[in-house]
């Protein structure tokens, strides 16, 4: 089949077994990433976005976690049925990950050079000299100043932004087809965040690399994403192109998030806030998980899990109430 998406996740369920019950962290999400596309998974803490990403790499800690159901197709191959050995060939080589906190994800006792070289050593057969050259080139690509000197530096000697660049260099080392970036700029200052976002955008201009970008920051989303999936309590509640979702949000949660953003233009007016708080994954409401906080909720929202409603041109939303209203 032509135009098969690079990654497609179908009906993924991930549960975590806890002392006081089962936390259904991911409850049947489906999304796909095409070649050369940046896709954002957007959601608040605890909505299951990181767990979804970890499932793709087979990194969900088991126990307590378990992928109960679903399939993850990468280049047409189901990752979930791969053996650990096969997974290791994919990790870092075809799919690479950039984590949120560069200080805790880098090993403090190895030099930067060692750590960037590690994926190259694991996945490719290159002479030591070639490895070093490749390492230097990668460091230049991600904009680390003085790569020759930095090669022998330890993580604590670098600033937060530089550490994140090292993480990105490691991710790029084997020219992966897909990079998963889990909140890569959350811990950084705004000016440094702008530098890193620019770096991500520049990967895409010269190549057909795909990025799955996970964040809670809608401002960042607007600047990097081609398509967005909005997640709430383990479900995808809305999907569509960035432009569609920002211009015409079709789910009350998305609308609420956009309205709740403090902006200079809204000065003097009251922010419209979403009441209540994010539900605990172990105790979710029946029916639509958002109904306790939704101002449009009707009787049926409490009883029935909502279906995806298709608005055309790739925009879908899990709110039949709004959908029917639009039809009438």
């Amino acid at each position: 089949m032509i135009n098969l998406p690079l990654l497609s996740v179908n009906d993924l369920h991930v549960h975590f077994y806890q002392r006081h019950g089962i936390a259904r962290v991911v409850e049947g999400i489906s999304f796909n990433v095409k070649k050369g596309e940046t896709v954002c998974l957007v959601g608040e803490s605890g909505c299951g976005k990181t767990v979804s990403a970890l499932s793709i790499l087979g990194l969900v800690p088991d126990p307590p976690g378990e992928i109960v159901k679903g399939e993850i197709l990468f280049n047409g191959r189901n990752i979930l049925s791969c053996k650990e050995r096969e997974l290791q060939k994919i990790r870092g080589n075809q799919i690479a990950m950039v984590f949120q906190e560069p200080l805790t994800s880098l090993n403090p006792v190895f030099t930067i050079g060692d750590q960037i070289r590690e994926p190259i050593r694991t996945h490719q057969t290159l002479s030591k000299d070639k490895q070093r050259q490749k390492c230097l080139q990668l460091m230049k690509d991600v904009g680390l100043p003085d790569p020759e000197e930095r090669l022998n530096a330890y993580p604590h000697q670098l600033s937060g932004g530089q550490r994140q660049r090292v993480m990105i260099a490691m991710a790029l080392a084997c020219e992966p087809e897909l990079i998963i970036a889990d909140e890569p700029t959350t811990a950084l200052d705004v000016t440094v965040q702008a530098q890193i976002l620019h770096l991500f955008n520049s990967f895409q201009k010269n190549g057909d690399r795909s990025i799955l970008y996970i964040t809670h920051d809608l401002g960042v989303v607007a600047n990097v994403a081609d398509r967005i999936y909005i997640m709430y309590a383990g479900n995808i509640v809305e999907e569509g192109s960035t432009w569609q979702v920002f211009q015409n949000p079709r789910h009350p949660y998305t609308m609420g998030l956009l309205a709740a953003l403090p902006q200079r233009g809204k000065r003097g007016t009251r922010l419209i806030s979403i009441p209540g708080s994010v539900p605990n994954p172990a105790f979710k409401a029946s029916g639509c998980p958002f109904h306790p906080r939704c101002n449009l909720a009707v009787q049926i929202c409490q009883e029935q899990f909502p279906e995806m409603c298709n608005y055309g041109e790739g925009q879908m939303s899990r709110c039949p109430v709004l959908f029917e209203r639009g039809l009438n």
């Binding site: 200052d189 000016t191 702008a194 809670h216 607007a222 990097v224 956009l258 403090p262």
Partner: protein, 323 residues
């Protein structure tokens, strides 16, 4: 004339860096290097800057949690920078702080009501008065009275921040320093806390010193904004003026780096190169010189504030030259 609630004049704090066996002083970290500002009653001053620029140190100096090296802190017209701890007690009641991390700033072994009434106990209120006040405060911040005997771990982040706000309000302060009060919260919760802070300000005529790195929030909440960089205030103006007509290259870069949901799709953010340099013995002159695209020779000399329009102060030769 209305008296300013808070006025800070030439406030400085240097941390000594010591090394070696004899702990010789080898340098100074100029965390706060001569800042001036004022806050009028019922107004909000936003203090913006990246990490390490000295905004939290400034807050601690104002509250006298740290002692300043130089400068004056005038609270209601009275200099509090050299008061003794005992003399400070009545002043402490007038200014309170809300911390960034609602997980770390509440004592895990105290119930919500114990945390809130601690300040009241210091003031010598009777048990029955305290209980009544706690109930009232919980209601003000939007928590039900049934929550008062619960411990912090039973609350969500937003609820904890509400407890922190109730605790700050308990002693009826006139000034509240908000040190990044919403940055640890989820997006949908942030708006709730912002609305709460705004409502409280209107009802109780509070003044806020609102410290944040998030320009969108500061732009929404503040009347005046001061931009800090490495211990200096680089620009100070009314919010509208600062955002519409930024004078300092750093402010411009900061504004351009904020990802905005209204921008065109994948618009390239304008990039400011480099990182915030170390505040350890910075070069003389403008602190921003290492990253500034307009760097000239004269930037290595001390730059004073210039007023480029009424109430709009900029610490830059270039901006000053245009006037």
């Amino acid at each position: 004339m209305i008296k300013n609630t808070l006025e800070v004049k030439n406030l400085k704090k240097y941390f000594k860096v010591q090394s070696g066996f004899l702990k010789k002083t080898t340098g100074n970290i100029k965390a706060v290097d001569g800042i001036d500002f004022e806050i009028k009653p019922g107004q909000t001053l936003g203090l913006v800057g990246e990490s390490g620029c000295g905004k939290t140190t400034a807050a601690q100096l104002i509250l006298r949690l740290l002692n300043s090296d130089e400068g004056q802190i005038l609270f209601n017209g009275k200099d509090i920078s050299s008061l003794t701890q005992k003399e400070l007690l009545p002043v402490r009641k007038e200014m309170q702080i809300i911390f960034q991390d609602p997980y770390g700033s509440l004592n895990p072994r105290m119930t919500a009501s114990q945390s809130i009434e601690e300040g009241l106990r210091v003031l010598g209120l009777k048990r029955s008065e305290r209980k009544a006040r706690v109930r009232e405060l919980l209601q003000i911040v939007g928590l039900s009275a049934g929550n008062q005997d619960r411990y912090p771990h039973e609350f969500s982040g937003g609820q904890r921040q509400r407890i922190g706000i109730a605790r700050a309000l308990s002693v009826e302060p006139r000034l509240i320093i908000c040190d990044e009060p919403i940055s640890a919260l989820d997006v949908s919760i942030q708006a709730q806390i912002i609305n709460l802070l705004k409502d409280l300000q209107e009802e109780l005529a509070l003044s806020y010193l609102f410290i944040s790195h998030d320009l969108n929030v500061v732009g929404y909440l503040s009347d005046q904004v001061a931009v800090m960089y490495l211990g200096h205030i680089m620009e100070h103006a009314g919010t509208e003026e600062l955002f519409n007509n930024p004078g300092h290259p750093y402010t411009k870069a900061l504004l351009a780096s904020v990802p905005d949901i209204d921008t065109d799709h994948k618009l390239d953010l304008k990039i400011l190169g480099g990182d915030v340099p170390s505040p350890l013995d910075p070069p003389p002159g403008c602190k921003f010189q290492g990253r500034c695209q307009f760097f000239e020779e004269r930037c290595t000399r001390t730059v004073e504030f210039k007023e480029i329009s009424k109430g709009h102060l900029v610490r830059c030769w270039k901006a000053a030259a245009k006037v």
